[in-house]
Symmetry: D2
Subunit: 113 residues, 4 copies
């Protein structure tokens, strides 16, 4: 059972051993997160309504990990704590999407009745 801190350490050590922090402006990291998200999305291009993922699981694992690694790097350079911001955002989402209104609905909170 890894703590988030242990994972973050793995991620930042990889970067620091290569002296790459100098390239990691928040803007270029935000670009990188978008690019890796696109590589993950590419797995599903032309899949139509075919939702079987077993054969694509390794590829999904790889691309999803890339997105999360860059997210960790962004958190690090901007001084954000991953656990804190996720916990806080979930609290905000709970307020935006109260169970009694949002149960079983995929509507955006601005359109919930």
């Amino acid at each position: 059972m890894n703590t988030v801190e242990e994972l973050m350490k793995q991620i930042t050590s990889f970067r620091d051993e290569r002296n790459w922090k100098q390239f990691h402006t928040p803007k270029d990291l935000a670009i990188s997160i978008s690019l890796e998200a696109a590589e993950l999305l590419e797995v599903f291009q032309w899949s139509g309504t075919d939702l079987i993922v077993e054969s694509k699981k390794d590829k999904i694992a790889e691309e999803l990990a890339d997105v999360m690694i860059y997210c960790g790097l962004m958190a690090d350079v901007t001084g954000l704590d991953v656990s804190d911001i996720i916990t806080k955002k979930l609290a905000e989402n709970r307020a935006k999407y109260p169970v009694e209104k949002a149960y079983g609905k995929s509507d955006k909170y601005t359109e919930l009745k």
Copy 2:
């Protein structure tokens, strides 16, 4: 100090209390990760060479958390363990980017000499 499992539990509980898993096909989650990555990127649109982020820190925190929450949901529905796939991908990256070749360079591994 949260473990990754505790964070994952927070994320999936939020979803399950609202009965939203039915909407979470891997394809639509991959789309959602891309959309949230774009919202994060939007923070840096028109910022030119201005790299000051302090005033944008709350917005970055919020959007970055959204990306990571959807990553957690993707890991859950595809049966992937977040710690495992990050650790594994970092190992692959270490092989692709050996310290002696990649030190201080932003080149893609295909262009490293």
Copy 3:
């Protein structure tokens, strides 16, 4: 001087000669536009504040063309006329961004005074 119709014909002929329309759901085309936009964006990853594009011009041309080709395909399958929707959107943008308020400012219309 090509008309938009002539360009559209080149684009749809390429598709139809290969019998590809069957794959072109609007959802998968929207994904494809996003993926090609990411490939264009990748040209600028890690460029920091370096805005020189001459050496990247061929790559930009190629990726930009890909985005526009998929946009043409999307217009075709959804029955939209490219000239019409651009002209209409520019009219809406003129209303949102009146010259006297927006002159020389990069603010979003919701923040213009």
Copy 4:
């Protein structure tokens, strides 16, 4: 019947009346194209296998136009001719995807037999 040049003129005039060219670095335009592509993609989020687009046609028109307008602006600042690059890219695609190999298949050219 608009020529591409007439459409480009509409697009660049809108920009120049507002003195916005100063903000339009290729990097920020590439970001903008990605952001607009994401807004178009958002129309299809959570749509599952539901491919009916009639009710979403106005929204698609608007977001698709935004992507193309930014593509036009990118072509302008990088000195690329829209008709030329599309014609050239289609020629490259014809070479990559010969009709006899690609007919009725959605495979990437690297996987065609």
